[in-house]
């Protein structure tokens, strides 16, 4: 009895709302009973946690709960509009959780709470929505975060492409952790946690009718566990970023330009799967620019690079980690690839999307 009285969380209300139709209609965004049924049946059921269960207009998080993890709040937001919604190795729901978790984690923060805001096109199948929400739940569990607030909107057919998700996340950065692009120094080693380009290729293969069988799955995964392990092995990590759109080439250019240093890459050491290389060769694309959804690039001081690499490789999210280059005080703001063939070239930012070459 006394245990029940001291429990801080509000009791989870019994839900009666159920959605009975097969497709989303404008009524589900109308603010009335249909919307409430949708939220209670699809979202609250899946994300079940005491903060969400209060169904207030906002999530209420005790400051003490945050403060026990560190001394700074990390706060980020991202919108997910991937096409197709389901692809080999994942779906938009998993992406929406992992992407925001990773944006928090690369600051060294412990990701804690997420919001989930969904824009649905009328006519969207309820079964697909359930499938996406279920994978958000699994991803949140895997990353150890709670989805504590959210919103749904339904727009007319044609006003959105099936379903968009926005997630916002908060996390807490432990005292003493200071990861910032300005901390890059000449001599720093550059690490990635595995094969690059898998997500971009999986999406490309799922989207385009290439007439090729590409045995590649998206690399979507949470990186917070890996980063925690990395920081234990090498607390003085200088820079961390997850390489999503624009690939590792874009992240490395951001590092080079913000820190006004030169990044030197060694082509032979960059982990790229054979199938990704093959597709890139066939289409005239470059894996350095393919999107990733579970890959980080780290700049660490040379003296702890070996420890950092070993720690990453020992973690399931970093089995194929590698040191791919180092920072120097060469031409400032540039990324130079030392090719396997023995030459050198600049790796620049992309202007737009990568476009396949004609011949």
């Amino acid at each position: 009895m006394s245990e029940l009285i001291t429990r801080p969380e509000p009791r989870i209300r019994q839900r009666s709302g159920r959605i009975s139709c097969d497709t989303i209609t404008l009524a589900h965004g109308g603010g009335g009973k249909a919307m409430r049924d949708l939220i209670e049946d699809v979202f609250c059921g899946a994300f079940a946690n005491p903060i969400l269960a209060t169904l207030e207009d906002q999530a209420r998080v005790p400051l003490a709960e945050l403060a026990k993890w560190g001394n700074r709040l990390a706060f980020t937001t991202d919108s997910y509009v991937v096409h197709p919604l389901f692809f080999p190795g994942g779906d938009i729901g998993e992406l929406a959780v992992n992407g925001t978790v990773n944006d928090l984690a690369v600051s060294g923060a412990r990701p804690l709470y997420l919001s989930c805001s969904v824009i649905l096109e009328e006519g969207f199948p309820v079964a697909d929505l359930r499938r996406i929400v279920a994978s958000m739940r699994r991803a949140a569990q895997a990353a150890g975060v709670h989805i504590v607030t959210g919103d749904t909107k339904v727009v007319e057919r044609g006003a959105a492409d099936k379903l968009f998700i926005n997630t916002t996340g908060i996390g807490v950065i432990p005292a003493g952790v200071d990861i910032a692009v300005t901390r890059a120094r000449p001599g720093d080693k550059i690490l990635v946690n595995g094969y690059i380009g898998d997500h971009g290729v999986a999406i490309l293969a799922a989207r385009e009718d290439l007439g090729l069988t590409v045995p590649i799955e998206s690399d979507t995964q949470p990186l917070n566990g890996l980063i925690e392990t990395l920081l234990m092995a090498c607390p003085s990590v200088h820079c961390l970023r997850d390489a999503t759109r624009g690939g590792i080439a874009t992240v490395l250019n951001e590092f080079a330009q913000s820190a006004d240093l030169c990044i030197n890459l060694n082509e032979t050491t960059i982990p790229v799967r054979e199938a990704v290389r093959g597709l890139s060769e066939t289409l005239g694309l470059d894996p350095l620019y393919f999107a990733n959804e579970g890959r980080l690039v780290a700049l660490v001081p040379a003296d702890c690079a070996a420890a950092a690499l070993a720690a990453m490789r020992a973690h399931p999210a970093g089995t194929h980690a590698a040191i791919i280059g180092e920072v120097s005080d060469g031409p400032k703001g540039s990324v130079i690839m030392h090719t396997a063939f023995g030459g050198e070239r600049i790796v620049d930012m992309l202007v737009g999307e990568q476009l396949p070459r004609i011949c």
Partner: protein, 391 residues
């Protein structure tokens, strides 16, 4: 990766470079000026920059990046025609990816798409035909471009469309042919070329015999080259050997793909469907006789130019643009007045800045050049000559 890594072996590259360097040291021309070899094909330009081959060679050997990027040499007026076709309300306009960013006089296909035109990226003309098959109520226009490399696949697609009686499919034909253009470059007075890397994929179709006049009449050695970095180095070595021996012939380094007689079936399809145009406009080079092809009268119903009204306007290249001089090797990309300032990959003024196969884009993106230094030198040159107009 099998069949690829063998052609990127750094140890073999080092051995070839050693040989090339000693050949260059013995070559009397190298004492006075760099030897200039033109790689005709855009695929070679791409490889040269991607693998950093130019920096590996001795300074006494330079590549001149030739006219072999079909996207780059497409004149603005033709891009405007594409956009007019794409904006036709019932048209689905199918194109290769890298043509989407080529600037017309007002916009690119990418911008036209954003404004509502139905522009779709395809990987082959057969993909475009499949779109036509699946959209019988719409008219599908395929933007056909490229040299003899892509010509056979367009021809075969038209033959297939004919066989299947798919009448909502047509082709906006911008195929061009390489030989008259090489000839035009060789006839140009500014040329100091010492040899050619001949195109690999084009030669796979047309064979190697076609180039004899380059060695015979113009006295320039030519080596048909593959696209892997060792292919290119070996071809340079073969050119250097010809110069050393005082020979001037057509040689074939790319024997694993190119046969002397070419591909008879591909050529047959091309001849069935296409005929030479009297002349065709090239961006940067002007009009060149018999340098383009069009559909024969028999296939007029697949010819988008005959099916739809196109503006067909001739639009002059921007005055400040020096693409023509770069294409002929008269100046190097970074010596152009607007390189890196008015003309960048974000805002390409000249065609060579557009495709990654374009010489200027390749230098800008991949080249180890100090842009700041070049701009400083250029500013100093303008200051020093009071009559010069800033660009």
């Amino acid at each position: 990766m099998k069949y690829v890594d063998e052609f990127r072996d750094p140890a073999k590259a080092a051995a070839l470079l050693k040989e090339i360097t000693s050949l260059a040291m013995r070559n009397p021309v190298c004492a006075t000026r760099p030897l200039q070899f033109m790689e005709v094909c855009g695929g070679h330009t791409h490889s040269i920059f991607k693998y950093g081959i130019e920096q590996m060679l001795p300074d006494s050997i330079e590549f001149v990046h030739g006219p072999g990027c079909p996207v780059c040499v497409l004149p603005m007026g033709r891009v405007d025609d594409c956009i007019a076709l794409a904006e036709h309300p019932n048209v689905i306009f199918a194109t290769f990816g890298d043509a989407m960013r080529v600037p017309g006089s007002k916009k690119t296909l990418l911008q036209a798409k954003a404004e509502g035109a139905d522009v779709r990226m395809v990987y082959s003309p057969m993909d475009a035909l499949a779109i036509a098959r699946n959209n019988t109520g719409r008219a599908v226009v395929f933007f056909a471009l490229g040299f003899e490399t892509t010509m056979p696949s367009t021809a075969l697609t038209i033959l297939r469309a004919e066989a299947e009686r798919i009448d909502n499919f047509s082709v906006f034909c911008n195929h061009i042919t390489i030989i008259p253009t090489i000839k035009a470059i060789l006839d140009s007075p500014e040329i100091t070329l010492d040899g050619f890397l001949g195109p690999g994929h084009v030669s796979m179709v047309i064979g190697s015999g076609t180039y004899e006049f380059i060695a015979g009449h113009y006295r320039k050695p030519l080596v048909i080259a593959g696209f892997e970095p060792l292919d290119i180095l070996q071809s340079v070595w073969m050119l250097m050997r010809q110069l050393e021996d005082g020979r001037c012939v057509v040689e074939n380094q790319y024997q694993r793909v190119v046969h002397d007689e070419g591909n008879a079936r591909a050529l047959e399809a091309v001849h069935t469907v296409f005929q030479l145009r009297p002349f065709f406009e090239w961006r940067g080079l002007g009009s060149i006789d018999h340098s383009g092809v069009q559909l024969r009268e028999t296939y007029a119903r697949f010819d988008a130019e005959k099916k739809y009204p196109v503006p067909n306007l001739k639009i002059a290249d921007p005055k400040s643009c020096q693409c023509g001089e770069v294409l002929k090797g008269a100046i190097r990309p970074w010596q152009c007045k607007v390189f890196g300032t008015a003309c960048t990959p974000e805002t390409p003024l000249g065609s060579l800045m557009v495709s990654s196969e374009g010489a200027c884009a390749a230098v800008y993106n991949y080249g180890l050049i100090d842009l700041g230094q070049i701009l400083k030198q250029r500013a100093a040159a303008v200051d020093a000559s009071p009559s010069a107009q800033p660009v």
